[in-house]
Symmetry: D2
Subunit: 386 residues, 4 copies
């Protein structure tokens, strides 16, 4: 590595949640420096944030268009731009960044509609730029291990997948009390056609497809808005069918009292099954038929030897827990290695390509549109079409 990558950021102003997570995660490995940003739609706040982040005042911009324009004029422009705005801004900003020649790291969901997602995919293909989509939960080493176990055939054929993502944080109508995070996430104009299913249901679907290597082909969804006056779903239950004949259940909720961020998955095969919980991310339960349940722990040789993808994303020995920021950082690690390779004109390490990108984004938008279509339908099954 000759130098650090230069990062620009759109969004992530005062009070934002995910922008700060991106900043911390991008710092962890010492290979990325935040050099520029249009942090807030309010220029004052953008400057305030830039100052607190030690970003040079002349690279703290009033808005993203200015950042694109000015950075292009520099000798040392940013190498990529991270987009952490509300959902409705993801597509136009990503589009302009790509067209201007920047690599992009985008928060999910990638766009507001499947049509936009497909357009973005075409653009990524055309420009050849590196595009990352922050489905951070697939960054956990034990998730990568699970994926590799499936690929290696350890589980046999996959029969059934159960995935859940319950939260409690919207159990009260806090969007009416000015809670910023709640406000835009429950607003169709900023969030899109789905609420809970767009915000976290997509993570669940992505996790199921990532680990299993399968594709959802049909969905039967029952969405609910439990809080009076809320404009988008805050709970959803789905039956799933996968392309190999496997069956599934997916449920997500933002009104499930007593749950925090309880993303969890059970993948059942003909030979073994695995179970993983985001809130205990360093362990993967591995289970055979009539044998003791095994608790596999991150960073042991038996993990790193089975999964090079997990090994690569492991920073510290077993028993010293890694967690959310480190998983997030793993997407930046692979994303940045892919950019480094591009800068060198080299083919990236295959392992470096293990980060979610525009294809995951297209499937995410297709998931959202399929779920919403199914919820409105009296038919049992709605095809998942991309």
């Amino acid at each position: 590595m000759r130098r650090k990558l230069r990062m620009g950021m759109v969004g992530g102003g005062p009070g934002a949640f995910i922008g700060e997570v991106h900043r911390r995660a991008s710092r962890l490995d010492g290979r990325i420096d935040l050099m520029a940003g249009a942090f807030d739609i309010d220029p004052e706040k953008s400057l305030e944030m830039g100052t607190s982040l030690c970003v040079a005042p002349d690279r703290t911009y009033r808005e993203y268009k200015e950042m694109i324009e000015k950075e292009l004029q520099r000798e040392d422009p940013v190498d990529f731009i991270t987009i952490v705005t509300p959902n409705n801004w993801h597509f136009p900003i990503a589009k302009e960044c790509l067209e201007a020649g920047f690599n992009v790291m985008c928060e999910k969901p990638m766009t507001m509609t499947l049509a936009e997602a497909k357009e973005l995919k075409s653009l990524v293909d055309k420009t050849g730029k590196v595009f990352g989509l922050m489905h951070n939960y697939t960054g956990y080493p034990m998730v990568k291990l699970a994926k590799d176990m499936v690929k290696l055939g350890d589980l046999g054929e996959i029969l059934k997948i159960v995935v859940q993502y319950p939260q409690e944080w919207l159990a009260r109508p806090i969007e009416k009390e000015g809670q910023q995070q709640a406000s835009w996430r429950t607003d169709p104009k900023q969030s899109g056609v789905a609420g809970c299913m767009g915000d976290i249901g997509t993570h669940a679907a992505n996790l199921a497809e990532y680990i299993s290597g399968l594709s959802i082909t049909e969905i039967c969804a029952d969405l609910t808005t439990f809080i009076d006056g809320r404009l988008l779903d805050d709970d959803g239950n789905c039956l799933l069918r996968f392309n190999n004949g496997a069956k599934g259940l997916l449920q997500a909720s933002q009104v499930s009292i007593g749950t925090k961020n309880d993303l969890a998955i059970w993948v059942y095969g003909t030979d073994k099954s695995v179970e993983w919980h985001q809130e205990r991310p360093n362990q993967l339960l591995v289970k055979g038929l009539g044998t003791p349940v095994e608790i596999w722990d991150r960073a042991y040789d038996y993990v790193t030897e089975k999964s090079a993808a997990a090994a690569r994303c492991t920073r510290i020995p077993t028993g010293h827990p890694e967690a959310f920021f480190e998983a997030f950082a793993n997407n930046y690690l692979n994303f940045s290695d892919t950019i480094f390779a591009a800068l060198e004109g080299e083919t990236p390490n295959e392992l470096a390509l293990d980060f979610p990108g525009v294809d995951a984004g297209v499937r995410g938008m297709a998931f959202i549109e399929t779920v919403v279509e199914s919820a409105a339908s009296e038919k049992k099954w709605t095809s998942f079409k991309v």
Copy 2:
């Protein structure tokens, strides 16, 4: 209590599983004596079993009809008859027992069809006999606590119920290898129209309705037979709707490798939620919004003071775990107290009536028929009609 109740048994011969559980559970409190039985369809085996159980030879019968006839001629006939045969025999035997004037404890599912179930209900109503159906999982004290918490309003309004019952024991076609339990449970002639959903899906549905006090009104089911050549479903996933507008998911499986008997339920209300796992039955997780998760432990004052039903079914102080046999025994405890009251011509203690009976049996059969109908339908929702 003047004397012990006298129990007769149909089924439970050598190699049977559930008959022995009934016998142990019925002994635990020292208020029931097994005095007679037609333990096996093979008279030799019936006699062998009777001898090993210290049942008098003249009360070890060749078949149930003989037991009914001979016991009626005695001065000290059995007070009730426990039926632990394969499913297809439940209805005719229960019917004859009731008609002959015996109280009955029957294994579940109660009958082979909903029509039979309703007929049995009429007969119970007509004869006034005490009828117990062994949905044993509702016998656990912490399940009773959960039910009482819902009834007291601790959870607020119920929004969502997630219930699961995965097992692994039929993950291979062991019915073809002569495994007795597997053989009759996968045989439609002995088991009825559903396999997994009849055997254990009914327990899950019963648990959800018992705790919540709600009724399932609509089901959307996806049933699968994963093992080639098996004649009944070995896996099923359902979306549920309840009579108060609550939503639900129910899944059961007998091919989920790595699971043993993992019945578990999550009931989410507007104020609190509860979570219970059959394999850790002494604890109930109680959760509020933004407060620490609480691990409620059986037998503490805060449990027994809240739930008289749980208190009544608690035999030993907290930290000294109770388990499956004790839960089973609780149904016998309440069932026998109800019989004692009947013998005395008294109204039974209301708490004594807390055991599953013919109404649970009718709903169980309706559940099975609805699930099977839904699975065959392209409509999303099938009404749960009793």
Copy 3:
């Protein structure tokens, strides 16, 4: 089995705790009938208890001497007598029962002093009667599995044993408020020279020796009475040394707030270690070096094939939890099989001899006396002498 064993009981009157546990446990397998008893020092209460237990009035005695005398005159005397009185009565009653020719099941601690314990051992040896001591925790199947794993060499050489038994129930001076259980347990005249260490520390020591097959050789103890005015220790911490050079820690407490009955043990060997918790008794954690932790579950083939002792004490398939009463019943199972063999003049099955007896009782009393001696000493190590 030709007939059921006839049990007599001394103690276990109204309000007693452990007597009722013995009764339930002895019933579970249908091979023991409670036929006689001197249940309470108050004859009225003894009769009341006998009536409620359906014991014949003429076999409900005013005191144990009467029971011994009258039972000897019967054609069908009790086969054994269970002693569940306060500690100070164990020795004299056990002695008289043995001398009169009865087999005995005795609660622990066996006597008030080591000298008495040795005297009782001589008497057992001399009379040849079957003597059981209710160290119930070694009755759990997963404890038996652990013992057999050590014996088979699965753990390699044992290096270290950590055993704990914290409880909270004496965290307040409830003996001053008339709580019957607390009163006699904190009274040196009824309990002996140790409180917490006698009541539950002995269980911990017994468990460590039972599983490991090792003997404690030296103890360094620090005992405390945290509650003002209490006459016996309510907390104790010990360093241990074992006869093979292994090291250990043992702690017990009855004032550890937030703990219920948290007996647990960790046995570390050169090849594997095992961990077991009484409050989750169906699981044994088995751990190798650099390999996944394994959760071994009761009743699986891999358990029952490794440990015939565990297999014998398993009543129901895995996933259907067994617990405290069943463990207790296992001691009765083996104890009664040993009596049956004696009645037949046969050598008992070796597995039937797997119940704690007079030797465990002698070591228990030696443990108590050594701990108390060490606590009073300024020497680091006090020899554990029997």
Copy 4:
């Protein structure tokens, strides 16, 4: 914050473990830049490491003396120096850094002897420089919460503390196979008079004193070297006494097969107790007498409102786990805020002073010397003297 702090590092060359942890942790909050280093005793390796870290070649030094000398000549010298060498180098390097006017962050144990530790304390007092000692486990927010709960009196008076730190990584003599970490940690010349007790026993002692606010006054230790030929202890068990009369047990081991990094503590008070496990760091179990055990989760209002120290060290909402690096980073957070205050000539925020420093280092060395003295003594109690 006007600018980022400039960090120098001694140690942390290729293959080192803890140096890389310091680097990642120091980056997380974007307030510290690694600007200089003498990373390895081999100048080639030092340069190699500096290059890979993007440290300027002219600030990648051959040895620490050169770094001190050259940095002092710069206009922008490093603000502090982190020392991550083997133990025997901590004292001389720290001394020279302090004498040269640098603030210091030092790995633990601080020195090789108590005498050196006291000398260093005098020097810190004299120079007024900011000195941090990396007892990282006290950086976890839930540990800080526990400390504040004790301080607020939530637990009542502390009666008993049980603390453990078992590991398995030295269960084989890997120091003979060239494993670098194992080699110096088992070498008295580089590690000091204790092995396991110095390396991790000190963490356990520090954690107990940090949370409880108590001081250990007496120790009774039994140290063992289980691996033949190893020169230092690899296992130790201690009885503890505290200055308020509380009792304790402390055990640490590096040969406990099946354990990873299982630091855990139980603090029992007269009103409540708390339990914390390093491998599940986001939860603190809080327990009252006869009430449900509560699982307190990091970042909830009920945590941050009770403990400002925990709130300050929380970066992300509950359910999004934080772990080892973040705890480590918390020490850097408070350490750097204290330096910022010093740079400004201000009194640091009292919360910023919540990081372990030279006093913890002195007590750590006293702990090591006391434990070793006790282990060699036949007296039961050895005074803990500082």
